[in-house]
Symmetry: C2
Subunit: 222 residues, 2 copies
């Protein structure tokens, strides 16, 4: 089934609010979507008629099984595009959201399957949020800053805490990017600096401060 961009935005927003509160109410959705309560009610009727939500007048609403599945498909598309924009086109992670908001509505399944493959089936987007898989399952991966990764264990770089020019310059120099495989060879207690190895590159050393701002997740978790 296909949905309009507007319907998809509502589905996505309801999904987001569901996380925090059991039943979602009209006003909070209106605030979240920067629209009026009356518009929300109108759309709720439509989403109900399309069997995406559980909705009783005046009593709040939530996505049903079908609605949740749809939400995860949209979120998957959004996060894959964000990953693409950052890792392939080199955009800053704090700039990609509005563009991904547009790209996420392009609805070809084949496109998304291929994009996913092309990107190496990433599990985490550049903001550190998990990317649902094709079945709509959210990976549960704990992320740790690089200074907390046990020595000798490999991690995949998922995000960095800031994308200042200075930070990017340094990451670039070391060849560290989102998706990089990284292993801590040795950590020096004296100043917190780390000797690290990035997949096919020679080992190098980074400061403890840098390490605190680079996040990785456990490679091994399925």
């Amino acid at each position: 089934m296909k949905f309009s961009a507007s319907e998809e935005n509502y589905i996505k927003s309801i999904y987001g609010l569901q996380g925090k509160t059991e039943k979602v109410n009209t006003n909070s959705l209106a605030v979240h979507m920067n629209t009026r309560a009356a518009s929300v009610t109108d759309m709720l009727k439509k989403l109900k008629s399309k069997k995406l939500i559980e909705y009783k007048k005046y009593y709040g609403f939530r996505l049903n099984e079908f609605g949740n599945r749809e939400a995860l498909r949209i979120i998957r598309r959004h996060r894959l595009w964000e990953f693409f924009l950052v890792t392939k086109l080199g955009m800053n992670w704090d700039k990609v959201h509005p563009i991904a908001e547009e790209l996420e509505h392009v609805s070809s399944n084949d496109l998304i399957k291929r994009l996913d493959n092309y990107l190496g089936q990433p599990k985490i987007d550049p903001h550190g949020d998990p990317i649902p898989d094709a079945q709509g399952k959210m990976p549960v991966l704990k992320q740790v800053s690089l200074d907390n990764l046990p020595t000798k264990k490999t991690g995949i770089v998922s995000s960095v805490s800031s994308q200042t020019h200075q930070m990017m310059e340094m990451l670039n120099h070391y060849g560290i990017g989102i998706g990089s495989q990284i292993k801590v060879l040795k950590s020096f207690d004296f100043d917190g600096s780390l000797q690290i190895k990035i997949s096919k590159q020679p080992a190098c050393t980074i400061s403890g401060q840098a390490a605190q701002n680079i996040f990785v997740y456990d490679d091994q978790e399925k």
Copy 2:
């Protein structure tokens, strides 16, 4: 200035029809866009009010300077996305059009600039059509089939005449893809087969039949 997806589709279609006839008439645009003449008239009024077309009632219409520039921006986006879908995601060129029709309306300038760079500023899309540059200039490049490329001259693969499984298998085997730099080292008159060299790969030989179905354009033309 920003335009709706619908306005952009009209602009693009008018541009396409202008090539064939001086003045475009309502009916042919309606046929081309698979819509009714009345809908076309409605949109013409809007495009005129937005100063994109020259339009006198009952006398036909055409894009003005501004409209042409806009059309070329849309076509540029469309063809860059097609190039992306084929070369990066491995889709067949005969499948990419409808997806590019959606992607072309995503309107970030920064996105397109980066996409263009990422793709290596391609000049020709996978259907063999030229890609307008950022200034809206259409490159004029003659394409020749590989068997007509002079020996020792390099060409860039722009398109292939069919994308059957068999063809793709062979191209894959030889490491030939759209955008590949290719040089003919020697051609054998006996059977038309060619010894060729692809950028960083060892030389290899392909049949004359294959060569007839691979199109390249002249590397050197600015």
